[in-house]
């Protein structure tokens, strides 16, 4: 199948929003930086909104989407219900901020909102786990989606922090590097899974990814842009590059990496036996 750009942007933006909302929850629970609250909440809403719009663009008949509410077993039901609940939690968080709610209230709201956010980040990948597409039939896929949500959320959070303390910079650097290493491990795990997938076919082989037609996408966009450059940006000293510029460049890179991983996934998604 093709690259399915609307689904690529749907899952990328939704994962960005989910990751950032969880970062905001951590920010609340550890009372790190109250300045990020408003900007962060608006950014989460924008990301979820852009994801939602992208998903609608994919549908042939979006006006019939409410029919999905009657079939709770489908992946789309889980995605649409979780995006709705997460969005409501963000709105409640904004409402609470507007009413100068106590720190305990904000902690409670973000904790409750983090649950559907994490489920949503996982579910947008889990919807593609299906036996008909051997390259997708692995739980590594949703975990890679979840991992990209965490990485994007971490970099997005770093952009929002104004004048961070040295300890916060070093801690966030350590966390983002750890998440990048975890994401690299998930990418490797996915390639290994591909090489062992049933109904082997050249169109979805690990060789095709590592040295074939998808090699520029894999090595260029996923490995170099999506993993290596953000990792290097993290290690650059504060004096040589402002933290916000480093974080912005890092977020652009990890977003490109996340989108490229999804493009790769869709292009590898050939069926067991393609008739037509």
């Amino acid at each position: 199948m093709g690259s399915e750009w609307s689904l690529v942007f749907f899952t990328s933006f939704v994962d960005l929003g989910c990751g950032l909302f969880v970062a905001l929850a951590i920010n609340e629970w550890f009372s790190i930086n109250p300045q990020v609250r408003w900007k962060g909440a608006i950014a989460v809403l924008v990301a979820l909104g852009m994801g939602g719009i992208s998903s609608v663009l994919h549908l042939g008949h979006p006006e019939r989407i409410f029919g999905a509410l009657g079939h709770p077993t489908s992946g789309i039901f889980l995605e649409s219900s979780m995006i709705g609940i997460t969005g409501i939690c963000v709105l409640v968080y904004i409402f609470a901020l507007n009413r100068n709610a106590t720190a305990q209230t904000l902690k409670a709201i973000t904790l409750v909102g983090s649950i559907p956010a994490v489920i949503l980040a996982f579910a947008v990948g889990d919807s593609y786990v299906m036996a008909s597409r051997p390259a997708w039939d692995t739980l590594v896929l949703p975990f890679a989606y979840l991992g990209s949500a965490a990485v994007m959320g971490c970099f997005a959070y770093r952009i929002l922090v104004v004048n961070p303390s040295d300890s916060l910079v070093s801690q966030s650097t350590l966390v983002s590097q750890g998440l990048l290493i975890l994401q690299a491990a998930l990418v490797i795990a996915y390639v290994v899974t591909l090489s062992n997938a049933p109904y082997s076919d050249a169109s979805r082989s690990a060789t095709q990814v590592l040295a074939g037609g998808f090699a520029p996408l894999f090595w260029g966009a996923i490995v170099i842009v999506g993993l290596l450059i953000p990792f290097v940006l993290n290690t650059i000293k504060k004096e040589s590059l402002a933290t916000s510029i480093s974080a912005t460049l890092g977020l652009v890179c990890v977003f490109i990496g996340a989108a490229a991983f999804r493009v790769l996934m869709f292009n590898l998604g050939t069926t067991v036996w393609q008739f037509f």
């Binding site: 008949h61 999905a68 069926t271």
Partner: protein, 212 residues
């Protein structure tokens, strides 16, 4: 009850009349197929080479994954076991196309919905058989209730013997369509076909394209 199809590959001569009849009966768009005849082979080493034709359609799976993933219930199983699409409910999300192991579904760009082989329900309603079955000049296609031991399909399968009955690869969907192929005709190829002549357009059949 499970209406399905049994296709006798010993009889199929690869005339493609089933493809044409299907497209005409169901007004299938250019470049889209509900029913496509693949050429499997030639395999082996000269002079011992084999080839057979494989008419492919929706496999009317017992555990159809397309039904499970449909978010609106547009894809459903009818009382006779046929997997169908209610176009009035379809939102065009294409998840069913992704879930089909064989790429047997296609997206109607005009109506913005997914469609597939219906086993010609409109013909069954007036007591006729699907168009591809009616038109098959070598009587290779049989249609009926596979749960009824007296049906054409059940009799054909009994007569063929279990060693000569084949199914497409099963990834848990349990396809109900059966193929009869005796060893004297050719060896059943369990691996996916590598048909290239249509995609390269060397045959002059332009407009063929990939779906799913």
């Amino acid at each position: 009850m499970k209406n399905t199809m049994v296709i006798d590959l010993d009889r199929c001569i690869g005339c493609y009349s089933c493809e044409i009849a299907c497209k005409m009966e169901n007004d299938v768009a250019l470049g889209v197929y509900y029913n496509k005849v693949l050429t499997i082979g030639p395999t082996g080493t000269f002079p011992d080479i084999e080839q057979y034709f494989l008419p492919t359609i929706c496999q009317q799976c017992y555990d159809a994954p397309c039904v499970g993933v449909c978010p609106t219930g547009a894809t459903y199983k009818s009382a006779d076991g046929t997997v169908l699409v209610n176009k009035e409910l379809c939102i065009g999300c294409k998840y069913c196309m992704m879930a089909c192991p064989y790429g047997a579904r296609s997206f109607n760009e005009t109506q913005k919905v997914v469609e597939k082989c219906t086993l010609c329900g409109q013909l069954q309603a007036i007591g006729e058989k699907p168009a591809c079955v009616k038109v098959c000049c070598s009587k290779a296609r049989l249609f009926g209730d596979i749960d009824d031991p007296k049906s054409d399909v059940s009799i054909a399968l009994r007569e063929a013997g279990s060693d000569n009955i084949h199914s497409l690869p099963d990834s848990g969907n349990h396809p109900s369509v059966k193929y009869i192929l005796h060893r004297k005709t050719a060896t059943w190829q369990a691996t996916p076909p590598k048909e290239t002549w249509r995609t390269t357009n060397q045959s002059g059949r332009k407009g063929d394209k990939q779906h799913g």
